[in-house]
């Protein structure tokens, strides 16, 4: 392989590594979420939160209830604990609320959430669901730091509690940070008005599970895909060696 081809391959790999950040509306910092799609308990907890708090307004119409077997639930468990909007486990997870009502009540029809994790990314969802705050200027009484003026209210407020967003000067070493134009750099901080049923740590874990569930729901086959991938790569690696020696043995007399 020539030097040029090596440089080009390295450049191509560098390009692939430059992954763009998830779609963010504001400069609000997106928090990273640590979650595991092999943790069945976490996915089941997320599924519970999803059907209790999300499915009232949002559908996940591309997902059938019985797809939840893949996260370790039996048909009976699904039927008894998670099905509020459907009769049979083979039916899709649709919302009880029509898109028309949603548009009338919230100004915008709540989007279907089947593949929302693939559009927004796990970190974005994790941050978004934790950055609601009270805002008397908005129609619902709620606003969101990551997604300003979003139509959705904080449906999880009983768990999270109520907060407001305060602007305060950024401090470094006990002194306000100058913005270089005679002013000070301001930062946004949440201030709790009333605590919720959960501690902030419990709430973060609940959202983490919910996000894990939505990531799973976005592509239910993703774990099988990776498991199969390991075997495919294993087989192809052997094939690469075999075809290499075949090639070299045919070419040994070509000078």
């Amino acid at each position: 392989m020539s030097r040029l081809s090596r440089i080009l391959i390295l450049a191509a790999l560098g390009l692939a590594a430059a992954v763009p950040a998830g779609a963010a509306e504001t400069g609000w910092k997106v928090d990273r979420v640590e979650m595991s799609l092999t943790d069945k308990a976490s996915l089941q907890s997320g599924a519970r939160t999803f059907v209790n708090y999300c499915l009232g307004c949002h559908g996940a119409a591309l997902v059938r209830y019985n797809a939840l077997r893949q996260i370790g639930l039996s048909d009976e468990q699904i039927k008894d604990n998670l099905m509020f909007t459907a009769e049979k486990v083979g039916m899709p997870m649709t919302s009880a609320m029509s898109a028309k009502d949603g548009k009338e009540w919230f100004g915008v029809a709540p989007p279907d959430l089947s593949v929302i994790a693939r559009a927004r990314g796990a970190d974005w969802l994790y941050t978004y669901l934790r950055t609601f705050y009270r805002d008397s200027a908005s129609a619902t009484g709620w606003n969101n730091a990551l997604f300003p003026n979003v139509g959705m209210p904080n449906v999880l407020w009983r768990l999270q509690g109520e907060r407001v967003l305060k602007q305060e000067p950024a401090m470094r070493d006990g002194k306000p940070v100058s913005d270089g134009h005679g002013g000070t750099v301001m930062v946004s901080k949440f201030e709790t008005l009333a605590p919720g049923a959960m501690t902030p740590q419990q709430y973060d874990e609940t959202i983490r599970d919910l996000v894990a569930f939505m990531v799973w729901m976005g592509e239910p086959n993703q774990l099988q895909r990776k498991q199969l991938g390991v075997w495919v790569l294993f087989a192809l690696t052997i094939l690469v060696f075999m075809t290499y020696f075949l090639y070299k043995s045919y070419w040994k007399n070509v000078h």
């Binding site: 020539s2 895909r225 094939l239 070419w251």
Partner: protein
């Protein structure tokens, strides 16, 4: 029989008998031997010569996976998005077939770009291979059409608005533009009619043309024989008395057959890493916004085409009113510069065309010229065989001018590609404008720099 002895007839294997039967009626063996079985190729192919066979393999992969996708996909604006997710979730192995197809689309462009770059490195477009090159350029055009039509089918936001942006380009054409755009869409906006016709183009019209062109590309290649990294014409070499082959020629079968199979397995290994572990490829192969269903009422803040179109998209966006002044100046300088080279009879025509272009640069809005430049940036590849005046084919014997020009072109292409994925800023637009000038400079200045460059003599035999 004359001497009365009996001879046992040689028993022929039934398969040979069958081949004889076919060959008496259809030149199957002759076709196989002329196209591959007895094709004589130079023995010094290197890394860059893998990508032709890889492109053929990816074409086969796209056709086969495409057939199976068609069985479950619904070309209907109300059903398309959900039918893709149906394939991903409910169709057995549907997710694999879909990822093979979506990754295959990007892989197709990767191998074709590398295949074309090989042509630039070793002068594969030079005489006598001009038609092979032209068929190849036509294949590339078809591939772009195929990618563009196919990208609408998942009916996500990027599918929808990407198609909207590109079709609206046609609306920029003076006089007939708006009507033309409606005719292409079959509607005032991208809609169900558009989806249906794009589906028809994607699954049958373009692939038919593509397969015909690939056949022509290969037949033309096997007629002239392959170029090689030294640019040596093995057909002009004396024959080896022992083998009857040119001194540097070998039978491509089985030698290049086994080598290409090795290349294919390496390719499949890399390809599988993406299919199984990163099918979105960080948003480059499957854009994140395309997981939001198409919404004609909601324009995304940032519309970016898929990565393989971004260099041309950058050129389109870089063509602003201020660039027109630079282009006008460039045109004047170019005509003056090449004036003595232009045959006397053609001079009035050249002057006339230049005058019309100059007037057009300022009378017709820059957006239209952006479309023209974007088209020209692809079509200009067709002219390469006649722009290059070097006495040698391969970069190995070319001088510093061509080497620098090619390096600048590759950097400009990559930078334009990157900028096409980003939202435009003042600085980015300025860089894209420089990139656009460098991109076209590679081609329009080639008759000059390829003439005055210094060259090493081409060897009589291939080197290692």
């Amino acid at each position: 029989m004359a001497n009365g002895s009996t001879t046992t007839p040689v028993k022929q294997h039934w398969a040979n008998g069958l081949m004889d039967w076919v060959n008496d009626r259809f030149p199957l063996t002759a076709l196989w031997e002329s196209q591959w079985g007895k094709y004589i190729a130079p023995k010094n192919f290197n890394f860059w010569y893998y990508f032709g066979s890889l492109a053929a393999m990816v074409l086969a992969l796209q056709i086969i996976t495409g057939i199976f996708l068609t069985m479950n996909y619904k070309p209907d604006a109300a059903l398309a998005f959900a039918s893709v997710e149906y394939i991903m979730r409910e169709v057995p192995w549907g997710w694999l077939i879909r990822y093979l197809h979506s990754t295959g689309a990007s892989a197709f462009f990767v191998v074709v770009y590398l295949h074309m770059f090989r042509g630039l490195l070793y002068g594969s477009y030079r005489k006598p291979r001009e038609l092979t090159w032209i068929f190849g350029c036509l294949i590339f055009l078809c591939l772009m059409a195929e990618g563009f039509f196919g990208y609408l089918l998942p009916w996500g936001q990027m599918s929808y608005w990407g198609a909207q942006v590109i079709v609206n380009l046609f609306a920029a054409i003076p006089v007939i533009g708006p009507d033309l755009a409606i005719w292409i869409r079959g509607d005032y906006v991208i809609g169900d009619a558009t989806l249906n016709r794009f589906f028809a183009f994607h699954v049958i019209a373009v692939p038919l043309v593509l397969i015909g062109l690939v056949a022509a590309h290969l037949m033309a290649l096997h007629e002239t024989g392959s170029n090689n990294p030294d640019g040596v014409e093995i057909k002009k070499q004396p024959k080896d008395p022992a083998t009857g082959l040119p001194l540097d020629g070998i039978y491509s079968h089985p030698l290049y057959s086994v080598k290409d199979v090795f290349g294919m397995t390496v390719f499949l290994l890399v390809f599988s890493i993406i299919v199984f572990f990163a099918p979105e490829m960080g948003g480059y192969f499957l854009e994140y916004n395309n997981f939001i269903p198409a919404d004609p009422l909601k324009t995304p803040a940032h519309i970016a085409p898929v990565w393989y179109f971004t260099p041309y998209y950058s050129i389109l966006r870089a063509t602003t009113t201020e660039l027109m002044y630079v282009l006008a100046a460039g045109l004047v300088v170019l005509v003056a510069f090449y004036w003595r080279e232009i045959p006397r009879k053609l001079r009035p025509i050249v002057l006339g065309v230049a005058a019309v272009l100059l007037a057009g640069f300022f009378l017709i809005e820059a957006k239209v010229w952006g479309v023209v430049l974007m088209g020209a940036s692809v079509l200009i590849f067709f002219l390469l065989p006649w722009l290059d005046r070097a006495p040698v084919k391969s970069i190995r014997y070319k001088g510093p001018l061509y080497k620098s020009a090619l390096a600048i072109f590759v950097v400009a292409f990559l930078v334009l590609g990157y900028l096409g994925t980003e939202a435009p800023t003042v600085l980015f637009t300025r860089i894209a404008q420089v990139g656009t000038l460098l991109y076209f400079g590679f081609f329009v200045l080639m008759p000059w720099y390829s003439k005055i460059d210094s060259y090493k003599p081409e060897p009589a035999r291939v080197t290692k």
